[in-house]
């Protein structure tokens, strides 16, 4: 009798680990009701989906992303400069599928926050217990007069990679430009996706021009008077590309207000018209349309969120991460999207279990390539304040790379930048 019991007990123990772990949520339901839907398969969404499966395997995760291949914004500037190809910065979703994420390649066409459903363009409706919305940005067509979607086929923005066509277009235009041409770049005011991005782009184009079309120039027309890592960028430009780059701040009439796509003219605030050979227009931006149509954005066009859980102020249970939200002092960066996505997922999981959200820490390191073996960085570490009403930078932490003649620092940071890209894309997609 005892032997039989022991054998039966061993048998039961054998079978137990094979059963799916069951968690009971606050509503008393089982794992089958812990449905996490993620809209957007970029830095925020892919990070959220991967992290959720890794850490909370009792959650069913569905990721909605129209593209079958994600082309990153980061390192797009290296494709534009000619040192990388689109394939180098493209990532598929099979890794997430292998983790048990159900990847649906479709557009999310609408969110019903009351019913907790997401409608897909193809007709399907998904029901969620918690929603992670990471839809990225929309470009505000017409905010620069004359700059609409048609104009972007002639004057690319290359600021929403999509299938990579915009990035590839700008690169082709640079390759086709004769030596001596002027490359014009129109840079928007704050807030916009990736604060140092336009200046890394200037650097990578300058590197290409210096090597292949040395009589050419870059005219950077900025709606701002200052920019991220400015001292470091300008030191590097003076050292590496003297005379090649002219940066015009807003207070010297740098703000582009109108373009003529056919004539390739960038017109600034006080009526100055700049005819250029290649024009890159980075227009003003807002949260992606789905966030606005769901009523989550405020008058600024961006989504206010809870500093601890990243739930939309307009809709509990919908966590908005990535560039679409209002991040307080944090930049709109890929690393911030990755970091806040994990806090959002952990907060969603906690709320499903009736627990308080975890202590939050948000983390950013942003590398920029300025030239060959020349990288610079900015670090930012942030937390919610004591009463959870705002996000603040941790005092005495973070900051930019040191200025000065530091070739080994620059060489190492270029190496670290490449390793960052590899690491974070593996964290997202592998």
């Amino acid at each position: 009798m005892q032997t039989l019991t022991r054998r039966a007990a061993l048998g039961a123990a054998l079978l137990a680990p094979l059963a799916a772990p069951r968690a009971v949520n606050a509503q008393g339901g089982t794992a089958a009701q812990a449905r996490l839907v993620v809209i957007g398969g970029g830095f925020g969404g892919a990070s959220a989906a991967s992290f959720a499966r890794r850490r909370f395997p009792w959650m069913e995760v569905t990721l909605v992303e129209p593209k079958t291949r994600f082309v990153t914004c980061p390192y797009g500037n290296l494709v534009i400069g000619g040192t990388k190809r689109i394939d180098d910065i493209s990532h598929g979703y099979d890794g997430l599928r292998a983790r048990g994420v159900r990847v649906v390649h479709d557009w999310a066409s609408g969110i019903d926050a009351n019913a907790r459903t997401v409608r897909l363009a193809g007709g399907q409706t998904l029901t969620y217990d918690r929603l992670i919305l990471s839809p990225g940005i929309a470009l505000r067509w017409g905010a620069v007069e004359g700059y609409d979607e048609a104009a972007s086929e002639v004057m690319p923005h290359a600021w929403v990679p999509g299938d990579g066509a915009q990035t590839a277009l700008l690169r082709r235009q640079l390759e086709a430009m004769p030596d001596g041409g002027v490359v014009g770049i129109a840079i928007p005011g704050n807030p916009f996706r990736c604060p140092p991005g336009p200046y890394e782009r200037i650097s990578m184009i300058a590197s290409y021009l210096k090597r292949h079309k040395p009589r050419s120039k870059i005219l950077a027309l900025d709606a701002k008077d200052a920019f991220s890592k400015q001292g470091l960028f300008q030191d590097a430009w003076a050292e590496l590309y003297p005379g090649l780059i002219e940066w015009v701040p807003a207070n010297r009439d740098g703000r582009v207000v109108r373009v003529d796509a056919r004539e390739r003219v960038l017109e600034t605030e006080f009526g100055e018209k700049h005819k250029v050979a290649v024009a890159n227009v980075i227009p003003p931006q807002s949260a992606a349309r789905i966030a606005i149509e769901a009523g989550l954005a405020d008058n600024s066009g961006w989504v206010p969120v809870n500093p601890v859980t990243f739930e939309s102020r307009a809709a509990p249970g919908i966590h908005v991460v990535g560039d679409a939200n209002i991040p307080g002092p944090m930049p709109k960066s890929g690393y911030i999207a990755n970091s806040t996505a994990k806090q959002a997922v952990a907060s969603a999981a906690a709320s499903l279990r009736g627990e308080a959200p975890p202590t939050a820490l948000y983390y950013n390191t942003c590398y920029s390539h300025v030239g060959d073996e020349y990288g610079i960085s900015v670090v930012g570490i942030f937390r919610p304040n004591a009463d959870g009403t705002a996000i603040v930078e941790v005092p005495n932490s973070g900051g930019v790379s040191p200025r000065g003649n530091l070739p080994e620092q620059r060489r190492l940071e270029a190496i670290y930048a490449d390793a960052w890209y590899d690491s974070i894309t593996r964290d997202m997609f592998a």
């Binding site: 054998r7 054998l14 680990p17 395997p57 970091s339 994990k342 670090v379 593996r426």
Partner: protein, 101 residues
């Protein structure tokens, strides 16, 4: 029966080792997850950025504290270490120490 029991025990052990319960890397404190974006998934390293997984906890903690106190020169870790509390550094060190590379 005498042949069955060792077989059952080996099978039980094997199934426990193959359990879908999360491995150590999936239970990282959230503060440690931030390290993965540079140091690789699970801190196992990437390209020119060294692995932090599998190193002695005392050493990892001492390095982070040295960076934080500006006593150890570095390209970037000082700026990073100054963002973390003593407790977070200790927890991260313990976490990465237990991950096999």
């Amino acid at each position: 029966m005498s042949a069955l029991r060792p077989m059952l025990q080996r099978a039980l052990l094997a199934s426990l080792l193959a359990t879908p319960l999360a491995p150590a890397a999936a239970q990282a404190p959230l503060s440690a997850e931030g390290c993965y974006g540079c140091h690789g998934p699970g801190g196992t390293g990437a390209g020119g950025i060294p692995a932090i997984a599998g190193r002695a906890a005392a050493e990892l903690r001492a390095q982070m504290l040295a960076f934080r106190a500006n006593e150890r020169p570095g390209t970037i870790m000082g700026r990073i270490a100054r963002g973390y509390t003593d407790a977070e550094i200790a927890a991260m060190a313990e976490h990465f120490a237990q991950i096999r590379r």
